[in-house]
């Protein structure tokens, strides 16, 4: 299990527990459940790199305690 922080820098900051084998899409669902925004409206980014839904956290090498930028579409 990994815990990943998502911050939109506008006042929302959450810690999400997830499995490394979860895809970004699954991860977005968990985030959506926590912040109350629809999953398809959520964009996850690391600098200019936008994470794609069908790739797992492990493949993006998102490990425990890492931060991900949270944007809205």
């Amino acid at each position: 299990m990994v815990e990943i922080e998502c911050n939109d820098r506008l006042g929302k900051k959450i810690r999400v527990k997830a499995s490394p084998r979860d895809t970004i899409g699954d991860f977005k669902k968990l985030v959506a459940a926590q912040i109350g925004t629809e999953a398809r409206k959520i964009v996850l980014k690391k600098w200019y790199k936008e994470f794609k839904d069908h790739i797992t956290l492990d493949d993006y090498e998102l490990h425990d305690g890492m931060n991900v930028e949270l944007y809205y579409r």
């Binding site: 299990m1 900051k13 810690r15 499995s19 459940a33």
Partner: protein, 679 residues
């Protein structure tokens, strides 16, 4: 950093289950060793490759085996080196080959026989040549010569000509080729101005850019066909005509010429022949003819006389031809005649010059002679009236009849005379001298006296109304007289006379100065000589003496200088230079100060007076010239001459200028009629 919101594990798992995901915490057991996976993968890959390789090897082996089998199948049977199973001996082989040879020979013999049979009974003569084409022009064959013709070469793949066989001669072909090469070497211009359809008479119209045609269509060849029984050149009249026309066309004159011909220094023979020849001089020949005529006449006359003296008419005849020849000479520019004329002219000139050079004694003698002759003439005239004689004197006398005119003239003259007298008192005698000279028999010496001219002038006035103008040809004096009469030479004014006097004084002064200068020079020379001698005498004395002498010399020099200055001052006391600056215009006339100023001003400012002003000035000048050049005794419009003419015509001393408003005089015709009646 603000605390992030976080869900608990249970809540998360619940959410996950709702979302259809595996709950967290279970997957912790089956952790995959990735290295192991990678190793396994690699092992599998290796195995696969090995298997494939093996399969390939097997396939190749099978293929090889198959090929080998095929090869061996082909090589079945006997090899060359293997012993033959047949019982074929050398004897047998020889027999076989011989048999084959025989068969071949028989076949060949049969073919030859067939050919012979084909040619048997066929005679080849001139008739066989009918319709054969000869690929040369008829003109190429010389009359009576023998030319061997052969079949013309033809490409192997060329199709058979429909014309049939062509015959050629190698030599002729060679000659044609050579001619063509030579033709090509002459560089003919492609374009010819006159090369037009209208210039090639009756010729077929040429193609566009025909100079390139030959290369496209190949060389055109003339040929002829051998006719019946080998005859040749028997064309029909129409054909002959056509051929003649073609030949004539070929001879058409070419009007083109070398435009860019170089100019050469020398003519060729042909060019030299074209130039004009100098016409031969005919003068000499003619003269000789004339002489011959004369000769013949001279010769002939005595002969005629000898032949028949009785016929006077015959004697006179020879005279006629002589005259005729003279006439001819008059028409022709005869050298002899011209020479003779020139000689006489020269003699006359000489005489004239002699007359001009004569001394006073001669003149006196001449006058005496003339008087004598005149007396004689008068007597003669009285005795015998021999024809009409027109002379200067007679003209004089004729003009004497018009009294009124003379009166007027006389008065005018007298007025002039008065003026002249005033001027002449101071003037040199030259002017009057000239007037004198106008009369033939007056000599120059008489004119030296100042009183004489007046008398003479008066005489002249009494004599004539129209004054005779002295002839320029008579000499320098006459010329001067004429000029004076016409007013070209102005009479000397008071100022001029003054200046002349000054000039004379100046000349004298200059002469004096020269004399003095010469004297001074001489003195100086003498001094120098004396000094030198003195030096020579005292040479080699002391140094003191040298210095003393130097001092002496300087003192003397100073003294001389002072003397010279004094002299110079004295000399310059009388110095009055005669400065007279004259400006002349472009016609060489002396300008007045005003005119000169204007010219200088114009030159300075770089502008001249306008057109109107210039014209006015020129007109004025012309008028002046006309005034100068007219007869001195007449008005500019020749009124005096016209009046005399009129008087002569009407025969009366007076004439009426006008009557009332009428332009025509009523009395004119009446007078004339009256005159006629009286006569």
């Amino acid at each position: 950093m603000a605390d992030a919101e976080e869900l608990s594990l249970e809540e998360t798992n619940r959410l996950r289950i709702q979302a259809g995901l595996a709950p967290l915490g279970e997957e912790t057991e089956d952790v995959i060793d990735e290295d192991q996976v990678a190793y396994d993968n690699y092992q599998q890959l290796k195995e696969d490759r090995q298997r494939e390789k093996n399969a390939k090897e097997v396939m190749e082996r099978i293929e090889k085996a198959k090929n080998r089998q095929k090869a061996t199948e082909k090589l079945k049977g006997k090899g060359l080196g293997d012993a033959s199973d047949d019982e074929e001996s050398a004897m047998k082989w020889i027999k076989k080959s011989r048999k084959r040879e025989k068969e071949l020979a028989e076949k060949r013999a049969r073919e030859l026989a067939e050919m012979d049979k084909g040619f048997e009974g066929v005679q080849y003569d001139s008739a066989d040549l009918t319709g054969m084409k000869v690929a040369h022009d008829m003109a190429e064959f010389e009359d009576g010569g023998e030319v061997i013709l052969t079949l013309k070469d033809r490409g192997i793949l060329d199709e058979e000509d429909e014309d049939g066989i062509e015959l050629t001669n190698v030599n002729l072909e060679e000659r044609e080729r050579l001619r063509k090469n030579q033709e090509n070497k002459k560089k003919k211009p492609g374009y010819n101005v006159y090369d037009d359809e209208e210039f090639t008479i009756g010729g077929a119209s040429k193609n566009l850019l025909s100079q390139y045609d030959e290369e496209l269509e190949g060389p055109k060849r003339t040929s002829f066909v051998i006719g019946q029984e080998g005859r040749v050149g028997q064309d029909s009249p129409a054909q002959q005509k056509a051929s003649i026309a073609q030949k004539l066309k070929a001879q058409a004159v070419d009007l083109s010429y070398e435009k860019m011909q170089e100019v050469k220094d020398y003519y060729t023979h042909e060019e030299a022949a074209l130039t004009f020849k100098k016409p031969k001089k005919k003068k000499k020949v003619r003269r000789r003819v004339a002489q011959d005529d004369e000769d013949s006449v001279e010769n002939g006359t005595p002969a005629n006389v000898q032949q028949d003296t009785s016929y006077m008419a015959v004697d006179e005849q020879p005279a006629a031809p002589v005259k005729k020849s003279f006439d001819e000479e008059n028409f022709v520019d005869d050298d002899d005649l011209q020479q003779a004329l020139a000689r006489t002219r020269r003699i006359a000139n000489k005489k004239k010059q002699q007359i001009q050079r004569i001394t006073p004694e001669d003149i006196a003698r001449n006058i005496a002679q003339q008087r004598d002759t005149e007396q004689l003439d008068n007597e003669n005239e009285d005795e015998a009236d021999s024809g009409l004689v027109i002379s200067n004197t007679s003209e004089f006398v004729n003009s004497l009849s018009m009294d009124p005119v003379i009166e007027r003239e006389k008065r005018e003259r007298e007025r002039q005379q008065a003026e002249a007298e005033a001027a002449a008192a101071a003037s040199s005698a030259i002017v009057t001298e000239m007037q004198l000279d106008s009369e033939e028999d007056v000599d120059m010496e008489n004119a030296e006296s100042a009183d004489m001219p007046h008398e003479n002038g008066e005489n002249e006035e009494e004599i004539s109304a129209v004054v005779d103008e002295p002839l320029v040809s008579r000499g320098m004096a006459a010329t001067l007289a004429l000029l004076n009469q016409k007013g070209f030479i102005a009479k000397p004014t008071e100022d001029q006379l003054q200046r002349e006097k000054h000039a004379a004084g100046r000349l004298k002064w200059i002469a004096e100065q020269k004399r003095k200068d010469a004297q001074r020079e001489r003195e100086r020379e003498r001094d120098r000589l004396r000094d030198k001698e003195r030096d020579k005498g005292r040479e080699g004395r002391g140094r003191d003496y040298e210095r003393e002498r130097e001092h002496e010399r300087e003192v003397e020099k100073e003294r001389k200088e002072r003397e010279r200055m004094k002299e110079y001052e004295q000399r310059m006391k009388d110095y009055k230079p005669d400065v007279n600056i004259e400006y002349t215009d472009e016609f060489g006339k002396v300008m007045t100060p005003k005119e000169a100023y204007r010219v200088l001003s114009h030159k300075f400012h770089g502008k001249t007076s306008g057109k109107a002003k210039t014209e006015k000035r020129l007109r004025k000048m012309q008028e002046e010239l006309a005034l100068n050049s007219m007869g001195s005794s007449d008005t500019p419009h020749n009124l005096a001459a016209a009046m005399i003419d009129r008087q002569e015509k009407t025969g009366s001393a007076h004439f009426v200028l006008s009557v009332g408003n009428r332009g025509v005089l009523p009395g004119d015709e009446d007078n004339a009629a009256k005159k006629r009646r009286t006569e």
